[in-house]
Amino acid sequence: MFSFYLFASPVMPGRSWLVTAMMSILGMLMLLVGFILAYLLIRRRTARIQARWRNIHRELVQRAIFWEPPGAEPAGTEPLPGEPTHIPVPAGITRSLRRRLFRQVMITELISGKKALSGTAAANLVLLYTQLGLGRDSLHKLASKKWHLQAQGIQELATMEQRGCVTRLYRLTNAHNEVVRREAQTAIVQLYGFEGLRFLEVIDTPLSEWQQIQLLRLLQHATGIPHANAVHWLDSPNPTVRIFTLKLIAEQHLQEIAPRVLECLRDGNESIRLQAIRCLRELDATDSCPTLIGAYPAEALAGQMAILDALGHVGTAAEVEFLRTELSAPDHRIKLEAARALVRLGDQGLTCLEHFPLADRSPWNEIFSQAKTEWMV
């Protein structure tokens, strides 16, 4: 108080600006505190309302999970006239769903239930989602400029099996944002299996390693991959699409495509050649050995090691001689890989190792022992 009078005193008129400034700062501070308090109050109130409605919505979700359509009643029991053919929703909840906030609460509850449940329970949750028209909200998110909302919308539509929105999802498989693109690709494959991989024909952005793993995991138990499409994807100008296709061919054991995979050994891209070698190994394509050996001299170390590894898996007695020559390669890593391949080929390979002239000298004795021990383990 003293200082206030000191500053406000007419004896010191030059200080009045200071008082005004301090008052303004004080006023602003009070305004800020008031604003924060009001914000916290509104937030708390909203959270309370949301929690109350979440519980109400949760009850509806519970009832939906155990809902049985009239047709599911024991044989001979006809549905009564006027009996609901869809999940009954209390009027209060229907009214509450006019607000976007509550619709999102409901979507979150349904998604959470759908992820944890299967069978009729999960089907009922999808039915309720559709019945309440919540798909419109998810679709609306796809049009958002915020990538995280787009990604959320995609996830919601995929989880709730909304196959009708395939066109919208398909468009986003080549989106500029990586997360959106990834979610859309995953969603399409989740909904349509191999058929969903049509996006491989149009994407001009790279498929990340992680995304490739994700897609392969989703397709693990899928059947009926169209061979013609796989061959077509191997011609893609996008190298990551070609690499993914080779992984897919290996995973699905598409033996019929092996001749086309062999052509990939002439690809200008080293990663593709490497993947093709790994793919041939998985395909157990014995007739590919001469081509693999033919490609060997032109390959860098990684490619040569991959070829030796593949020969160990798909090779026969005919490859023993080639592998024996590689035991004399200057690089010890090549020596070890060739020894591993020979051990894998069985008796003839083992005999070759035993009769190798330098078998009892270092480093061959150590390398051979290592290869044999690995095989026994």
């Binding site: 949760r58 979700v61 519970q62 999970i65 155990f66 509850e109 959470s112 239930g113 759908k114 992820k115 944890a116 449940l117 299967s118 069978g119 009729t120 329970a121 999960a122």
Partner: protein, 119 residues
Amino acid sequence: MKILVAEDEPILIRTIEMRLKRDGYEVWLAEDGQQALDRLEQGPPDLIITDIMMPYASGLEIIAAVRAKAWPKVPVIILSGMGQEDVVLEAFKLGADDYITKPFSPNELSVRVRRLLTH
């Protein structure tokens, strides 16, 4: 028959509760691992259904706690997520009797519960 259900996913625990109550069981709910352990201090249930990943104490700790007690064998069903094979094997080593992978059907769970309680 009393069944202890330990699961931290609200929608799931209520669903299991509803299903088991419909089947005529008395249901004890625990929304985290510690609640389940506390509940076990009050006496043995006839069966336990437990999630593996839960706050404060995991499903594995619950199984270990049950097996450490001098009770007649209480059957345990574990709820696991996909790709938790190692944890499921660990649970079996500790003495779990059955497991069910999420997502699962409440009807399937009901059948498994009935099977374990009648054997």
